[in-house]
Symmetry: C2
Subunit: 232 residues, 2 copies
Amino acid sequence: MRTTDLPQVRSLELFRSMSESNFDTLMQAAYLQTFPTQLDLITEGDPADFLYVVIEGCVELCARSNGRESTMGMVRPVGTFILAAVLKDAVYLMSARTCQKSKILLIPSENVRDAFERDEAFARAIVVELANCYRGMVKEHKDLKLRTAVERLANRLLRYHREQGSAGSLDLPYDKRTIASLLGMTPENLSRAFNTLKPYGVDVDGAKVHLSDLKSLQILAKPNPLIDNRES
Amino acid sequence: MRTTDLPQVRSLELFRSMSESNFDTLMQAAYLQTFPTQLDLITEGDPADFLYVVIEGCVELCARSNGRESTMGMVRPVGTFILAAVLKDAVYLMSARTCQKSKILLIPSENVRDAFERDEAFARAIVVELANCYRGMVKEHKDLKLRTAVERLANRLLRYHREQGSAGSLDLPYDKRTIASLLGMTPENLSRAFNTLKPYGVDVDGAKVHLSDLKSLQILAKPNPLIDNRES
DNA sequence: CGACGATTTGAATAGGATCAATGGGAGTGG
DNA sequence: CCACTCCCATTGATCCTATTCAAATCGTCG
């Protein structure tokens, strides 16, 4: 790994409180690589050889069964994926592919587990990250089980709006096809859901969405911090 | 806590490798209580005061939003719940209530976090437990996103059948109403799903289910170890 | 300009939910 | 022991949501 990248990695929440020597050992074993877009990084069912940390770009997590496929989540900087599989030394439950040119840190599983045992601060950071992943997944599951498609879309729009500064409009961060899959619906249905939201002040132009009647959209969406807030 | 219960707790995977003194400290702060059936233990949104460990009985995890409610999971001995909330010192994302008379260990959150920092073996056990919870939730989510209601039921029956010794029949472990909610459908729809499975050798009599044509049921269900196997 | 992929729209269908009514134990009290 | 009640489960009918298939449209890129 190039030494110029080290400070960037070191500053990540996950590694910040590690001891210097443990960090060095871990990084000696790690690779920092840039991948082109649409590249398959891992496949569900494969043994967890590496922990992945997204430094730049974006990665899509997806899952397949029967003939179907669904987007399980998106990972943006700075996020990890498949931490649980690495810690358990198990197989991946999800596949991952880049959806942009992405700079990604690969740390061999064994070294992650070593560092976990050796470095208490790292262990704590790992647990916080894992707990966040778990809670994120619980929220996704609640979203899907407790809401209709239109409600899921409305709440997702409100979330993107908030994350982008509540300026009355927002950019869809991914393809509509991807957003549809993320929200558990077909692209056709997403398109119709946008139409359903038009009377609530939702105007779509490509990836730009304008929200002209936040109040009525919120009444429809009934946002719930225990589902929609990423941080808590 | 009664000292007669201590060995039972000590033998749990989570506490087995803890140091004696750390275990004693933790247990000094803990309560072991027996609750009647249908008692609300925690409510989503409340701060995580305790880590819960189910020693005997059964606990249902559920979530609410808008007017809707859904069963998120069942916890049987020996399982924990809301570990992530405790470690993060955050609010619960799910509510919990007993669905049988249940013996439950309550450990104050603060003491869990203390023990986590002090005892390396405990930290490792916590991480394994948390990783298991995460992977279980991923599997639930895949199940819901990638399968129809009938497929979910078929696979769940195959799983119960396997867990109960593959003897050609199985007992439904919960009310049909609960199973329906767990599988993300209405009780009416569950009843119809059972009818749909009749041609595949599924015969239901109350809580007893007889599987007379495993082969064709498996062809329909297309079980996937990355969704259906609890252990891996 | 032309081709390709993504998105949208329309029509038909399927899957699941809701509402209403009925049947069937388990438990209670006479 | 039996009638009664209550709750769960089932069934039927209908409605609504979402998927599928097909076709049209839009944009982008070469």
